[in-house]
Amino acid sequence: MSRLRTWVSLVALELWLPLLLVVIWWFASENSTSVYFPPLRVILQSFAENWLVPERALANLGPSLQVIGLGYGVALLGGIAIGTLLGLVRPFERAVRPIVEALRAIPGVALLPLFIVLFGIDQPMRILLVAYGAAWPVLLNTLDGVRAVEPTLLDMARIFRVGRARRLFQIILRSAGPQIFAGARISLAITLIIMVVSETVGASGGVGYFLMTAKSEFRISSMWSAIVALGILGYLLNILFRIAERYVLRWHRLQQARLEKAS
């Protein structure tokens, strides 16, 4: 019972301001006659039609979710793998550092034309572009995290003859966990950006495609509904991310809380 109450109060704490703003928006826009700023009532109607009816929602969201899921997944795995490799093999890292610095400075979306030329205009191109563009933050954070492992723990691992796999997965990557997650959070934001932009070209579905067609067909309330949908999608993805982080970095959260209390 008290658990339920805590939960309800947590949700209330999280949602009171967004809900208040929605209410304000609703009443402020109700009598709007502007073509570009339709009443929220109209936007939500369009939202219900386009994003809540299962088959429409599937057509509009399915391709985007595929790009996010696969692209972000590859970005995480690739970023962590390459970041770990660079972090552990010093001479190698020194050699490729200038290349890494140059490549990461190029915004992922700037490579859209190149990726279209190389991989066509279908889903694989978008997934690859997301994977490439979103990999950088997690890669660089993993690199730093892997390097910052406490040397005493590496000594400990040698003394107790802990093998490579255990050393990597139970010491090095666990130690780098907080930094990897910090990078992964930035990568997630980049994933959404590249997903939307890449869907504006040559796609036949997805949130970006929907946005562009609504705009060009002058369905302004539909366009707004896509923006609302994007906001909600980002929010939900962030919640998923936070749940994963809470679970994996439980130790870090508790330890930080303890340190704060002590100081």
Binding site: L153, R158, F160, R161, V162, L254
Partner: protein, 278 residues
């Protein structure tokens, strides 16, 4: 995969072979010579302390003895075999428990990791870990906590339990009680003494604290000079039963203490390394 159970105190092992032996062991960082030919050996079941002033090279010596660092001269022998890397029969308790324990996992898992890494099944590793935690005087409930949820003294007990569970031939300890308060320090000293007696452990402990070295040891190795050499090896005739108050107030204790003090102070005043370190 080898099991870590290479056996402390195998009764069939040759009693004459030292558990650990340094032969003219030397170490240099580039042109700077830290250790200049260290000679000593430690018998099975013996408790030996290495003392020396700050900066004399105690940590470098311990790193060489544990196999973490290759000596640049001389030889290191574990059970009569020349080695140059960490051995299954050698465990280390590091100085700083907050650095040597993994903060992201439970006390139990901290103790079982070395065991699992050396081929023990989970159930067996956990049983041995729980046994070791009990031996160092920790409650069973502690096993599921994170190490940083414990006091400093308890964390160092976890580190000791991890080394015990590994079942080493030689237990190396690098200033293990330097970062705890005085009362905890006495408790941990008595704990290690009791474990050493009960389990017949071979312990080599490095410290800058002469009282601690004399109180714990069967023999004290005093380091001096720069590069460091063994100034002398002093026998400690205090018997096996020791008590923080009684032992330390005996005439013999005072005598050995004064002797070691003389060696270390002499080292401090003659060694150029000491003048820069203090």
């Amino acid at each position: 995969m080898t099991t870590p159970a290479t056996g402390a105190n195998r009764p069939e092992a040759d009693g004459d072979v030292p558990a650990l032996e340094a032969r003219a062991l030397g170490h240099s960082y580039g042109p700077r010579e830290i250790l200049g030919g260290i000679d000593f050996s430690i018998k099975r079941g013996e408790f030996v302390c290495i003392v020396g002033p700050s900066g004399v090279g105690k940590t470098t010596l311990l790193r060489c003895l544990s196999g973490l660092q290759k000596a640049t001269a001389g030889e290191l022998l574990v059970l009569g075999t020349v080695v140059d890397e960490p051995q299954p029969g050698v465990a280390v308790v590091f100085q700083d428990y907050s650095r040597s324990l993994m903060p992201w996992t439970s006390v139990l898992h901290n103790v079982t990791l070395p065991l699992r890494a050396n081929g023990l099944k989970t159930a067996e590793a956990e049983e041995r870990a729980r046994q070791a935690l009990a031996q160092v005087g920790l409650q069973p409930t502690v096993a599921d906590l994170y190490p940083w949820q414990l006091s400093g003294g308890m964390q160092q007990r976890v580190a000791i339990a991890r080394a015990l569970a590994y079942n080493p031939t030689v237990l190396l300890m690098d200033e293990p009680f330097a970062s705890v308060d005085a009362q905890t320090r006495s408790d941990l000293e008595d704990l290690v003494l009791r474990l050493q007696r009960e389990l017949g452990l071979t312990v080599l402990l490095v410290t800058h604290d002469i009282d601690e070295a004399v109180y714990l040891s069967d023999r004290v190795v005093a380091l001096s000079g720069s590069p460091a050499r063994v100034a002398d090896i002093v026998d400690v005739p205090l018997g096996t039963e020791r008590d923080q108050i009684e032992t330390k107030s005996t005439h013999e204790f005072a005598e050995v203490r004064a002797k070691v003090h003389g060696l270390v102070r002499h080292a401090a005043s003659s060694g150029p390394a000491a003048s820069s370190a203090s």
